[in-house]
Symmetry: none
Amino acid sequence: MFELDLRSRDPIYLQLVDKFKSLIIKNVLKTDEQLPSVRALAQQVTVNPNTIQKAYRELEAQGYIYSVTGKGSFVAPTQEQDNDETIQELIAEIKKLLLEAIFLGVSQGELMKLVSEADKQAKGGLDNASNPRFN
Amino acid sequence: MFELDLRSRDPIYLQLVDKFKSLIIKNVLKTDEQLPSVRALAQQVTVNPNTIQKAYRELEAQGYIYSVTGKGSFVAPTQEQDNDETIQELIAEIKKLLLEAIFLGVSQGELMKLVSEADKQAKGGLDNASNPRFN
Amino acid sequence: MFELDLRSRDPIYLQLVDKFKSLIIKNVLKTDEQLPSVRALAQQVTVNPNTIQKAYRELEAQGYIYSVTGKGSFVAPTQEQDNDETIQELIAEIKKLLLEAIFLGVSQGELMKLVSEADKQAKGGLDNASNPRFN
Amino acid sequence: MFELDLRSRDPIYLQLVDKFKSLIIKNVLKTDEQLPSVRALAQQVTVNPNTIQKAYRELEAQGYIYSVTGKGSFVAPTQEQDNDETIQELIAEIKKLLLEAIFLGVSQGELMKLVSEADKQAKGGLDNASNPRFN
DNA sequence: GTGGTCTAGACCACG
DNA sequence: GTGGTCTAGACCACA
């Protein structure tokens, strides 16, 4: 379920954060569903528990999960709050990468297709949950 | 012209790389145009010359500029090579961010518009040069 | 193991790059094998750690090694990509040197033998590892 | 006759050295033939005379030309002297590049062909002189 | 003047 | 412990 790339320049804890965000976004992990315990996950992926802790802390800071002392960590309900700032940063980052992609020769059509695919994948999250073929 | 965030987790030299890539992509800096000298820029943004050097080296490694000892650093001609690996990584990163944006409530339409804008801005680079409203 | 010429016009960090490339090419250093730490090597060859870093960065940029913060630097798996541009430059450089060698009196036969030897040494990398007679 | 790449990382004076060495090796410039004067060449290739001077000095140091004060610079007779050291260095450099080429996937056959071509080009120098189609 | 190399030594992020 | 960033300041090669 978790394939970490120990060789990547990306720190392990960030790889974990990304994995979980992806699973939550695709609705594989549903609201209030419990995440694996720190120790269990640490053992499963053979990584230092501190690293898992760091990942969970980061996910909580970004509002994707919430932790209850003594009980565990759970998927947070979809954020309807005005995380306007976060979104603006995200949009800016996407725009930067789009410009770079176009500069490197990627066509507008391909990028449009990318948006379309992402949208379909996100909206069809519930289906994916019962038919998991995500990365 | 260069607003650096010294507090950012992103290292200064990478912020500079991004700035310059953006300026080159938007055709504000044109082929063979000279970049500010290492020392001059270092003084302007009050950063150590070594840091500027590092940024310039990275830009050179990525093919955006070329440096000639004793003469200066210049914008490289547009890369015709298809750096397939680079593009694949870029696409993957964009897709990840698109999914996140959609999850945070950004509509497909807005993202499509973003692609369209980026395409227009990239293609109309020459116009932007005389009408500078970029960051 | 590492004999550096501090007087050479070739910068120290490039001498290190060459040494390591040679060791990797001859399969003395094998995939995923760890390189000496920046600090350790710096101390061993009595050179500033920054200089070692520069060498490692260059090796990483050329795809010979990968570095993971907090873990170390390791030999990268053999590159399957055909870096056409790099190869073309390499071929041109070889041809130039071959012409010069011939001009200085080296016979075609000797050069052919050189190619043959290089091929044998590269292909028999594993054997060389247990029978080290390289520089 | 002289196409310098002002963009190259290689210093201009070294590019000139290489050009002249190539012309001498291919026998386009023959023994005791006079080289263009510093000032004339400087004007022709629009380069600082100091740069030409430096190139000529380097060529003289390597034994490819000799200078007569007040008369000019001339192609030196083929060196039959024991420049054994130079040759050894050259051979070592060639071997290093051959290994790298093989490592990057160039076949032994291609390299053999390269040697053969170089040999033919060098030996056929006299013919080339009257039929100049070199770079 | 330009870019490039190197040192000495500090500080940070990661595991 | 690891690699990575940054500064301050010196010195070199090139044009």
